[in-house]
Point group: D2
Chain length 411, copies 4
């Protein structure tokens, strides 16, 4: 169980780290400052400089071969293992636009995974190729406003057969990335047979983002932020006609596709969250050494040694657990790795949230202000406690896996 950095990945990590720190971070600041400045007033339109920043960095990354690392265990790209990728993803997690610069950002990687794994050739030609090239972006359209999505069997967006097509009607929300004008393709989970057994009710469709009848109602806000131009959109489907050919695996197999997609996606989020925690701890230490109160460095006051130590211990443990989950994916496959993915899916956002919260507190009021990135990091990792399943659902999975060891029948 080698969880260390391999010789192969070490120089890549170093290159990525440097590029993130030296080249991406300053431009990220500029990029974020430009959000919402489009003359139209539309916060989801990029101004030219934003695209220039993104395209420039992406071109640079591609030229350097720092591209599509996430394509693990594949003969395309580096063929990195998930463990190796974890070290890269951690670095990318430290700056907002970094993951996209290396074409390793959510939700595109998950969607590419679906297209790669379950897509027919024509789908790959049409959508996977430009996604792999970073030319377009994508969205994964699953969550719905009307039901507790933790129980995915309740998802209700209706898809009714009509000749060679399906007609889709209903609402979806929290569709991340759908705000981006470059988002060109949707992968949509819809209910094709509400009376079927629980895990055969849904079907996974793929379609162009500009398919008629799909309407963005509003951006959902995360602690008041619309995360423009990426966005988490609330959408309505009204008589959206999609060819039956646009289905992954077959009617009623939506759950299977969803499960295959979510494993890697979940763990990538965790890797990046650990990067954020690491960054927060660094900020906490630097601030603790830089400021004084009552004649001492803040780091030396009160419980701050304990707080710093706890942060360090928690991060190390979360990272190791994440690496082990990655190693399970590499060696036993996504399915067998599920309880491990659930574990880190609970642990990483909680750990990162706690460390960032302590970092904010040690910074004083500055810590929650625009002068530091901590508040934004915190709200982001807070969303991860819902995204791809709330903590409670993952804890339930872990417990059931544990109890199954002692009992053959289902608990």
């Amino acid at each position: 169980m080698d969880l260390g950095m391999t010789d192969r990945v070490r120089p890549l990590v170093e290159q990525v780290r440097r590029m993130v720190e030296d080249e991406i971070a300053p431009l990220d600041t500029e990029f974020q400052a430009l959000v919402g400045t489009h003359p139209s007033g539309d916060r989801f339109q990029h101004v030219p400089r934003q695209l220039e920043i993104l395209d420039g960095l992406k071109t640079l990354a591609k030229e350097r071969g720092l591209w599509n690392f996430w394509l693990t265990d594949s003969d395309r790209g580096y063929g990195l293992s998930t463990v190796e990728y974890a070290y890269l993803a951690e670095e990318m997690g430290k700056v907002g636009i970094a993951a996209e610069v290396f074409n390793c950002n959510a939700p595109d990687t998950g969607n590419m995974e679906v297209l790669e794994r379950y897509g027919e050739q024509w789908m790959k030609d049409r959508w996977l190729a430009p996604l792999l090239n970073g030319d377009i972006r994508s969205a994964y359209v699953m969550t719905e406003p009307g039901v507790a999505s933790s129980d995915a069997a309740q998802l209700a967006l209706d898809a009714t057969r009509d000749g060679d097509d399906f007609i889709l009607n209903g609402e979806k929300w929290w569709i991340s990335g759908a705000g981006d004008p470059r988002c060109a393709v949707y992968i949509v989970m819809a209910c094709t047979d509400a009376d079927a057994p629980k895990h055969a009710r849904h079907t996974m469709f793929v379609m162009d983002a500009d398919t008629p009848g799909i309407e963005v109602l509003r951006p959902m806000q995360v602690f008041g932020h619309d995360d423009a131009p990426h966005g988490h959109m609330h959408m309505r489907f009204t008589n959206v006609r999609v060819p039956a050919a646009n289905i992954f695996l077959g009617e009623g197999r939506g759950f299977e596709v969803a499960q295959g997609r979510l494993g890697p996606g979940r763990i990538h989020h965790c890797m990046r969250a650990i990067g954020q925690a690491e960054k927060a701890l660094e900020m906490m230490c630097r601030r603790g050494l830089a400021r004084e109160a009552f004649g001492k460095k803040i780091a030396e006051l009160g419980a701050n040694f304990d707080i710093i130590a706890n942060a360090r211990m928690d991060i190390e443990m979360a990272r190791l657990l994440c690496l082990k989950a990655a190693w399970m994916m590499d060696t036993a496959g996504v399915r067998a790795a599920q309880p491990w993915i659930s574990k880190i899916k609970v642990v990483a956002p909680l750990t990162a949230g706690r460390v960032i919260d302590e970092a904010m507190q040690l910074h004083g009021a500055a810590g929650i202000s625009q002068d530091f990135d901590l508040a934004h990091m915190w709200t982001h990792v807070r969303t991860l406690r819902f995204a791809d399943g709330p903590d409670a659902v993952h804890r339930r999975q872990v417990a059931r896996a544990e109890l199954r060891k002692y009992q053959n029948e289902k608990v």
Copy 2:
């Protein structure tokens, strides 16, 4: 130690509760939706409808005699005790603009307290009267960007004597309420003798907000929000000339004034935070009963009974502690009540934050969105862990008070 609702305050609580729920809450929603819609693009300008809402409600409250409850232990207004006021403040905490409607909002109450207690008659005529009438608003100008404000002795905004005046130079930030165009008076803590003993260095000034040389640099953001039009402003003082007559108590007595001010202010924040926790628990229960997953009400799933029970227990304890601190203020005075105020100052924001966080989690992603008030409530109570002193400083006070019981010399 009667911590209950008295017969005198009970009908007032009922009236306030009804007015908050039935009349203020709907208009608060309208008010908040109008923030940032001023044609000038200046988010800190009210549009007429906003002022109409505020003035209308304030007039109504005044007509009903629901006004200036915070003036405890006084022959003006109701002469309520702090314990009695706590029950009212809790209700006001549940809706954004409610406290202002009853002229019980921060930072005005604290500033009125200073003017009432330490102000000369001309100060009262000029600033206290219109504040008590709700005609103007005020700001308390203490925190600085360059120093850890937890150690207030470090505050550095310079006030140098020049004839009958002082000349002020320096920066302040997180000046809450200074964004509001109606804010007409500042109470400013400045350093008049950096070489004096620690608690004799500072002096508390009062001045018109439009005194020349005071410049608002920018609004500070709280998790990305500017809280317009109230705001938490970053300000610069450049050769601001203030008459020496505008000093409370006398040169070098700024700490004394600050201490007198902060006690009640801190506890009012706590009371309102408990109101928010109570509201979050109600939302959690309602949502838990309204939604289903896996064939059960969400409230009945997993650890949710425990989460609800813990929230209820934590809120009850925080409320009782708050009431006891209030009772200490009423019976032993602000100074003797300090360790009690420190206790609740730590407990109430942490408790409210935890309950609101759980409520968000039970709501699923909706919980952090604009569809519910929870995210806004959370960011607000998170600021209370810094405002008026960070948790660590208050814990330190509590510990020192505890240890003093066993040792005469200072620890």
Copy 3:
């Protein structure tokens, strides 16, 4: 809602505190040292000096009128309120044998309550009178080894009608106080109709401890301690014949009696646990000031200020919650106070356990040794998380009470 010490109870608290500290504590140490020294080797036999200590102190207490305080709201004794009693019980909690000295110890108070409230005159004459006088002791025989007692409907000790008698068969365990040779009466919950509705299956009997067929199998151990000579006994009933007249309230009404009994008993445990927490905090402070490391007092090192402050805040909140539960019992009755009793039943043992644990840690290894009372205090409060219902069951009660506010039907 007066939660303070009344003028009536204040001098009693002072008297009890002094007697506990000055007279009982030293003899308690002597008493405990004598445990297990009976020549017979039977750890549950007192040596004469132990009885001399107990009887001497009890006589003293009785002479001073410090006796049977727990008889609240009664024309016998003081007629104290439960709130008033709380302050006394807290003091008694600080030393092992103190509660018995004042005839206020578990399980006798609960059993006297049952006899007083539900007993017929002959029962009162036979068992209540000597109990009130401190001449005999009693046990409450409910918990069973074979079932999860948290669901009391499962209790299985069988009572079968045979003429004018019932014949009891089965096992009970954790029968506290049944080890004491002075224990003369048992109150026993038995199943008289396993097919009846859930809360009508059981009946509450009273019988002499020496009724033939009752056999003590062994003492149960608490973290390895048998708590001799009090003990928590594992017992077997073999064809134990009890007259049908020895039933409280009537056949099938055992639950009703149990509920009536458990309310006060639970809260008395909580009051004493708070006394223990208070004592642990005092020990923590004294030790923190007495010892040095790295050139500083231990109290000033690391997170110790925070630990002390948290302990103080937690204790205050637990005490206030306990007082409010007591006040609810006084003003609304035991039944209405149930959710409040559940709250403090969860909070007090957890709080006390946490404070004692921190006190142990601050003492270093000495803290868990025989040189300090902390380890014994910790194991005792740990038992309270099971006794009279585990935390989970009480949290469940609190949650259900909370949810009922929003829904008429049962959750």
Copy 4:
């Protein structure tokens, strides 16, 4: 960074696991039941059957070559890495006498390490050889009653030069293993120059246990247990004469020896604690599936899924952190691994304590009784929060290591 079980160690782990479960566990029960049954009444004397059990099992283990695994990175024994040893130690942690059966028990391994690393040949012949063979046992004599041992520079047992000898005077306590009659050698830290710089004051001596002048005052108790016949003894040294030749490394180098000793010893404790946590989780699951309440398996009630999941996640993280610390020792040496050892030294006992506590709670009162091993496991891991340095000291080490990354000067 291979943290997995190697092919080399896997069959050993399997053999050890089986022997622990099938052969040692039943005899451990018998062994423990015999404690305190010696006719002399001396709890620290073995009865013959106890020695028969120990010797029989040790002979068996030796015959099977399951012996001295802890001798890592050595050409004697297996030459296992610390990572490999971790997997073995975890299994040994699950049953009381198991570690001794394989000659891998504390404090002997640490003491053998000292003799091996710092001992002269005659010391090895005299004490190391029989220790390696399991013929004698040893004690490490460091902690003192009069000072906070967390600051070891305060240790005061006096060693004064007298010709070719040193004369030792003073007290030590918590000397684990010194109760065992087979304990034949002491390694003793004494102060040879109280005026020297902090880390040059002490010297490490080795001596026969029966050196005149050493007196056992009493066994220290751990939550009331004397842990006989192993014991944690309180000892007095009165004019104990030890040759100057009996010093490790040289006068004033006691700290160096102590540091070299404590690294491995600390981590071995952690490995075994993780074994105990794993065992507790298994017990929790089995009990949760075996019992019912309210018509459901206990495992399915309330928050139990979450509790089980949290236990599983916490154990995995603690194990990974422990393995990483072991790997650091293997690859970077004990000194460089110090902050890692401190991390797991904090984490493992806390994690194990939490899991065992939850397991007790899920068992109901039975969980703290003699019917399950949980209470004993809990008190044992609780001692680990003091042994070899309290949590606070280790957190301090971790924080200082963290802060040093950002600052050259000492914090």
